[in-house]
Symmetry: C2
């Protein structure tokens, strides 16, 4: 059974999915069997296991969609929807067959468990759709590093909020300035706890949710900027782990998996 | 622009992606404009934003695929491939248009950052494809809780390994018994560090990788068992946070997001 995945769906399945049975059948009448074979051969193939086509996207439009998506179904949905809905419009094709909702589970660090920030979960899945296998880790690693060192929410996101530029959604959002914090971690738990400690605004508060909606917008904008640069051949990852973590990893790298700051959870010890 | 996502992709984008422009254009010559309109209308329908159809899956077959997928492209790819390749064969249709590779970024807790265990990342995306919006958190939360308290790798996975039942892959795998550990966390970093500390086997070692390959197999088997029960109407989540964490959350729940064990990273304090 293991090798079946590389083979095609049935022609019937394809025609049903695309709704093009009629057009292709008529094409056969005019062009003869060889044209149909070509069409069938394309038709019976599952989606290719390679990068989807890409077109330059607008980071600002991505912010609007990421923010709206957050208020619809959470951070992971917001980020994935923000990027892939623009790709559906710009490129179409395979993007239209990947449901926006499939990354929604990442909300609150995964069903509110506080693990990886859901905005990253959604953005990383979008990156993986666009980037070649050999480049995925570079782009994802850079995004995680940027996230860990960036003050959220950005001035740009707050400006869009206070000027009422974000799209209206089912739930109106607080149009106020919000304090910025650096999470020093890609984990939702740390990101939220850090901001909550600094702002005094608790988790269930709409202002805290709005902070995460703006953060989602920021993650979409950064991801889009990275992907635009990547496709233009100008992407260069710049993130490096901090010096303290580098010292830990000099000995402990083979003892664990990860690039998160060690002293966020572990007490430093004498060398 | 925000509502465009529910509408179709442009005809141009679709024709370019499917490579079917010629067939449709010829269809237009024969059938006239109304037939082309019908084809366009069907062609531009995006995948439905709801659960995909499901059929009961075999957990043992899932283990074989999860293990093979791990050795091909990592834990997250392995878990997502393990589940969705079976669904492609059993159900087909929309599953054939979601690329296996899109969750591969989750490897090593996300591009080797050590955040959420990639086997969970892959499995949770598959859960989200199958489950209704209102049920996703219940299933994902149960999987995270189970993972945090389960000794990996399971006896069943080790049996498949030592008897040579796992599929041959490009890289041969160590067919030996491996020590079991409970991670007390869904994080890759903690999961690996715990096992490495107990086994004395370091991160780059093939035996450590095989531990994660078997863990991936176990996560697939658990997810498949949960989904079978969910679809049969018999799924009941049983995970509860441990007593120590419950005491912490009694005060600190609004200060943070998450259900991970607090004392894994924080020093307990006087109440």
């Amino acid at each position: 059974m293991g090798d079946h995945d590389e083979q095609g769906v049935s022609r019937r399945g394809f025609l049903k999915t695309t709704g093009l049975g009629l057009g292709v059948a008529v094409g056969a009448l005019v062009l003869g069997p060889s044209a149909v074979s070509a069409a069938e051969s394309g038709a019976s193939t599952p989606v290719a296991e390679g990068p989807f086509p890409y077109k330059d996207l607008d980071p600002r439009e991505g912010m609007l969609r990421g923010h709206a998506g957050y208020w619809k179904s959470g951070c992971a949905y917001g980020a994935f929807y923000g990027i892939t809905s623009m790709l559906r419009e710009a490129v179409g094709g395979p993007y239209a067959q990947v449901p926006y909702r499939m990354l929604a589970w990442g909300r609150g660090g995964g069903a509110n468990w506080g693990t990886l920030c859901g905005a990253l979960t959604g953005a990383c899945a979008a990156i993986n759709l666009v980037a070649a296998d050999a480049d995925v880790n570079k782009l994802v690693g850079e995004l995680m590093g940027w996230y860990s060192t960036h003050p959220f929410p950005s001035d740009e996101a707050t400006k869009l909020a206070v000027t009422g530029s974000f799209k209206q959604t089912a739930k109106d959002y607080p149009k106020i300035e919000l304090i910025k914090t650096v999470s020093k971690s890609p984990l939702c738990h740390v990101s939220n706890a850090t901001w909550i400690a600094a702002s005094g605004i608790k988790l269930p508060d709409d202002r805290r949710k709005e902070r995460c909606a703006r953060l989602t917008a920021d993650v979409v904008a950064k991801t889009v900027a990275m992907l635009n640069a990547y496709k233009a051949g100008t992407f260069v990852p710049v993130y490096k782990v901090d010096e303290e973590t580098e010292i830990c990893l000099a000995c402990h790298e083979p003892d664990q998996e990860g690039k998160m700051s060690c002293v966020e959870c572990h007490e430093p010890h004498e060398l």
